[in-house]
């Protein structure tokens, strides 16, 4: 399994043709206390860059974009009861949704962990 990162502060775990998407620890830290996560319905198809989810923190609502194209196969139901999971465990249990990857070549331009760390350090 390999993990990719976007400059929109999302992480993507790829296993076979399934991608698990979440927001990074840096992103949750910036958003602050998260009180609601709106997730896409199973079967929704996204083009890369579409609005896929919304994170509501105490401060504001923020869009989460589909980092790659694909069809939603599962959303993380645990976030409905416990949106704060995104704060406490953004990069594991706080995942948002899983996509069936439509075009694996879209992963090519994304960052690996080292590159993302460097990107965050530059902000």
């Amino acid at each position: 399994m390999s993990r990719y990162f976007t400059d929109e502060h999302e992480w993507i775990d790829v296993a076979g043709d399934i991608a698990t998407v979440g927001i990074t620890d840096y992103a949750q830290e910036q958003l602050g206390d998260i009180v609601f996560v709106e997730l896409p319905a199973e079967g929704t198809t996204f083009e890369k860059g579409d609005d896929a989810a919304v994170v509501e923190s105490v401060k504001a609502a923020s869009d989460v974009y589909a980092p790659i194209s694909g069809e939603v196969v599962e959303a993380n139901g645990a976030l409905e009861d416990e949106p704060a999971l995104v704060n406490s465990d953004a990069e594991e249990d706080g995942w948002f949704f899983k996509l069936r990857i439509a075009d694996a070549s879209e992963l090519e331009g994304l960052m690996n962990e080292a590159a993302y760390k460097k990107f965050v350090a530059s902000l």
């Binding site: 602050g32 206390d33 009180v35 509501e56 105490v58 504001a60 609502a61």
Partner: protein, 415 residues
Amino acid sequence: MPEAPIRRLRWPVAASLLRKGLAMTAIDDVAALEAELPLEALPLDAWHRAKGARMVGFAGYHMPIQYEGIMAEHSWTREHAGLFDVSHMGQLTFSDETGGASVDAALETLLPSDIKGLKPFRQRYSMLLDQEGGILDDLMVSRPGVPGEEGGAFEGAAIYMVVNGATKYDDIGWMIEHLPDDVTMNHMADQALLALQGPEAGEAMAALIPETADLIFMQSGPFTWRGVPLWISRSGYTGEDGFEISVPGDSVALLADALCELPQVKPIGLGARDSLRLEAGLPLYGHDLSPAVSTIGADLGFAIQKRRREEGGFIGHARVQKELADGPGSKRVGLKIEGRLPAREGAQIYAGDVLVGEVTSGGFAPSVGAPIAMGWVSLPYSALDTALEIEVRGKRIAAAVAPMPFVPHRYRRKA
């Protein structure tokens, strides 16, 4: 930023020219002009940064939005005592050569509240209204001494006023236009303002200045702490007991440190200040209040005492009188929201297919454990428990008109 002070000083002039229709015609031009101004630093800037604050631009200043997190800071204030830097607000004094009579008379033409009847060391909530009765700002006025007697605070000024930070230069411009020549208005630009709020605020304040224990809600007075002159009022904007402390800018860090060394006190950012005031049902100028809305519709009629309602004599009285008789077109209401999705400022409010209003403040309420909102709805839909719907990202969420405050006020009133 050497040019910043000069550009800022020009702003009230631009704003007042705009009102007279002599300069630029589009409000957007002025907003854009204002947005271009560089942010300024308040006296506690370095102090906030050293405490780990995340700083944002607010009302033209760098200000702390949070330290450890909005939820934690909100809860700390409801349970202990939070220290807020509100030095962006405008602190003004009004003086004359007639023992306060000219000031009182002049301010009664600008404010709908009873100023002549404001007793020494008492404070009152009021607002500036425009000719159409729209709200230009909401503010606090207090009497810093005994009229005609020596020794009052603020060099014997007749009135001390605190206005909102984002509107202070507009307010100053407006008042310069309308005040007579025998009234002197002084903007204390170097004066800082702190708010200490929460159930343990009384205890914390008394640890530094025991005499403050005698103050009750909306009472104020001059105090001295380590040789520094302070003006302290028992008031605030969180719904909790607490104080607002006016302190010279060069002493504010010393005072903030002394307060935060107490076990009851932590610094709190703007984020929690907003969620606390929303739970307390208190309107925020520029969001819940604006020139487009009226005092009576805003449910702020308590700020207009009986004599003023009857006699008038202030700018905007016609609107107040008409709305007291016929009712306002729309009203500011509290909204409780079903589910967990917050409805935020700008969300539209429906009754069936009819658009009846708009959310003006909204978010998750940490002490309620649910989203809440404040908004304006047209009068027929403003009664308590009226079932409404709010549109959030294309979806309708169920809401109902709810009583405010959402969290009970705990002011220290007379025993």
